[in-house]
């Protein structure tokens, strides 16, 4: 479903801020894979997701989504293959527009935007049913501006928008990091539900080791711009937080220094 072959990306080449973010990254995702991605700060987790999303062109390598080489496609062209949820709940939705308008915009991802009316009556009924899945009461507030919603509600709505067109790959970039633990749990539960119901292939970056173990069928650990640990199936189910931390210091040869991850 997704192939990353020897992907390289360096930021600020030739300056003192030069940063090798991705150094020969290889990753192959099978259809239906739900991969959790962990790693220290600056390991390249978000950079990998942004490379897939086409936020900027990569320096080397190739990115193939469902058999299509998307190297040359810019961000808005790639959007038709992808669903994306960001760390900042403000990033995924248009605050000054209604809940139903946001969904209508997402529902037209990948198709030409014409002079037809932006939302049809039939769609509104569909959206009401979809919003019920979230179980947040949003189905009764479809004409409310998204700016009135809480961070968790906005993140849940973004998830719905991301999955509404059944993307080839769902990219979740630390999408619960800005939420309180209770809301984060709820948003994770919704993510799982939407992934299951739509049979999505997903990548979820997280700083929470427990979540990384509990969710998905596969876990990858990144370090210095490449994947250093890749485990799936039964082996992944047996993982513990301690084992992961040990694995990290073992493979990378460094103390696992990420406080945020340890605290979790």
């Amino acid at each position: 479903m997704l192939e990353l072959n020897n992907v390289r990306k360096t930021f600020n080449i030739g300056t003192i801020n030069e940063k090798k973010a991705l150094c020969g990254l290889n990753l192959h995702l099978n259809p239906g894979d739900f991969v959790t991605v962990i790693g220290g700060n600056g390991a390249g987790k978000s950079t990998m997701l942004n490379a897939v999303a086409g936020v900027w062109p990569i320096d080397e390598g190739e990115i193939i989504i469902d058999g299509v080489n998307v190297n040359k496609l810019c961000e808005d062209k790639r959007a038709k293959y992808l669903g994306r949820v960001f760390q900042d709940p403000m990033n995924g939705t248009a605050a000054t527009m209604e809940i139903q308008e946001n969904l209508a915009i997402a529902a037209r991802r990948g198709s030409r935007r014409t002079l037809k009316w932006g939302i049809s009556r039939k769609e509104k009924d569909e959206y009401r049913e979809l919003l019920k899945i979230l179980d947040l009461g949003l189905e009764d507030r479809m004409t409310a501006k998204v700016g009135l919603l809480s961070g968790g509600q906005r993140q849940a709505l973004t998830l719905l928008m991301a999955s509404i067109k059944k993307p080839k790959i769902l990219l979740l970039d630390e999408h619960t990091a800005a939420l309180d633990p209770k809301t984060a749990a709820k948003v994770l539960e919704i993510s799982q539900k939407l992934i299951d119901e739509n049979n999505l292939t997903a990548m979820m970056v997280t700083h929470n080791m427990k979540d990384a173990i509990a969710y998905g069928n596969r876990l990858v650990m990144m370090h210095e711009g490449r994947i250093i640990f890749d485990v799936s199936g039964e082996e992944k189910k047996k993982l513990t937080v301690d084992a992961l931390i040990q694995k990290f210091s073992q493979t990378s040869g460094e103390e696992f220094s990420n406080d945020r991850a340890l605290l979790n």
């Binding site: 959007a79 403000m90 248009a94 527009m97 915009i105 991802r109 990948g110 935007r113 002079l115 932006g118």
Partner: protein, 303 residues
């Protein structure tokens, strides 16, 4: 006092015309979230194209107005290309186009800075038939608001709105934000040039200097409309646009009143600019002051 009241209907008419321009400013400033300084030039382009076509080429009035609008749209396209293809910040892109238009406008008017309509020629917009002029202006405003209401409800219009609200989200949802920005600038400057064409008919001439500070008048109209009528407009887009036009009218009534009270007209632009500066500052001060307030409250809570 009598002269004051007789001066009001022309002021209202001019207010509506500038209000039309302010709708264009509203589109860039409020919907696209960028200050587009092209308008200072494109309003004159509208005036010049309309006047020259009617006076020198002898075209019907509507052809003059339509071509003025197209010329304004072209100006918006230039600004849009500067911004999206050249990567120049929107304000600077607008300033560059504005400067280009200074030359273009003078060239259109044949090298002079002022071209007049013949005195004996009557248009549907004129100072001599104010009643009908006001009626036509209201109809034009209603038409523009209707078209705007329709367009920004369509798939494409929604994409333009989303672009102004959240670039990140728009791109993630497959919107080509460069294209929507250019589209917004094209429409906005088309409306601005349209108001310029109508203004030239109303004043009876076009002037290369008439656009100086147009953006400030537009912003003033938007701000006044919002400050006075936001309670009534709620979230209705058509009402919001109506409030913008009303803001333009109020601006011109105040303008007329200040002149009547004997203020040196040299100061008018200074006052307009200061007024806009203060109103733009208000939300910032509010945040700063209220922010402090909240912090104190927060501190108390944790104490």
């Amino acid at each position: 006092m009598f002269t004051y009241f007789t001066s009001l209907p022309p002021a209202i008419a001019q207010g509506i015309i500038w209000g039309i321009m302010a709708i264009g400013v509203y589109l860039t400033y409020k919907i696209l979230d960028m200050a587009d300084l092209t308008v200072d030039g494109s309003i004159c382009t509208g005036m010049a194209v309309c006047t020259v076509l009617i006076v020198k080429a002898g075209t019907p009035t509507w052809v003059g107005i339509l071509c003025a609008m197209l010329a304004g749209m072209l100006a918006g396209l230039v600004t849009g290309i500067f911004h999206t293809a050249f990567g120049i910040p929107p304000i600077l892109s607008g300033i560059l186009t504005q400067l280009i238009l200074w030359s273009v406008n003078l060239k259109i008017m044949g090298g002079t800075s002022n071209v007049g309509y013949p005195f004996n020629k009557e248009f549907f917009i004129s100072t001599s038939a104010l009643g009908m002029t006001l009626l036509y202006l209201v109809l034009i405003v209603a038409l523009i608001i209707g078209v705007f209401y329709w367009f920004f409800g369509t798939e494409l219009g929604s994409a333009v709105r989303a672009t102004g609200c959240n670039l990140n989200m728009s791109r993630a949802q497959g919107i080509n934000t460069d294209r929507t920005k250019v589209l917004g600038l094209v429409i906005s400057n088309g409306i601005v040039a349209l108001s310029g064409a109508i203004l030239s008919l109303f004043l009876g001439f076009s002037d290369a200097n008439a656009g100086r500070g147009a953006i400030v008048i537009g912003l003033a109209a938007v701000i006044i409309g919002e400050a006075l009528f936001s309670r009534f407009t709620k979230n209705n887009f058509a009402l919001k646009l109506t409030a913008v036009v009303a803001g333009g009218v109020i601006y011109y009534i105040v303008y007329q009143t200040v002149i009547f009270l004997g203020l040196d007209t040299t100061y008018l632009k200074l006052l307009s600019a200061l007024l806009v500066a203060v109103f733009l500052g208000l939300p910032y001060w509010k945040k700063k002051y209220l922010g402090k307030h909240e912090k104190k409250k927060e501190a108390k809570k944790h104490a």
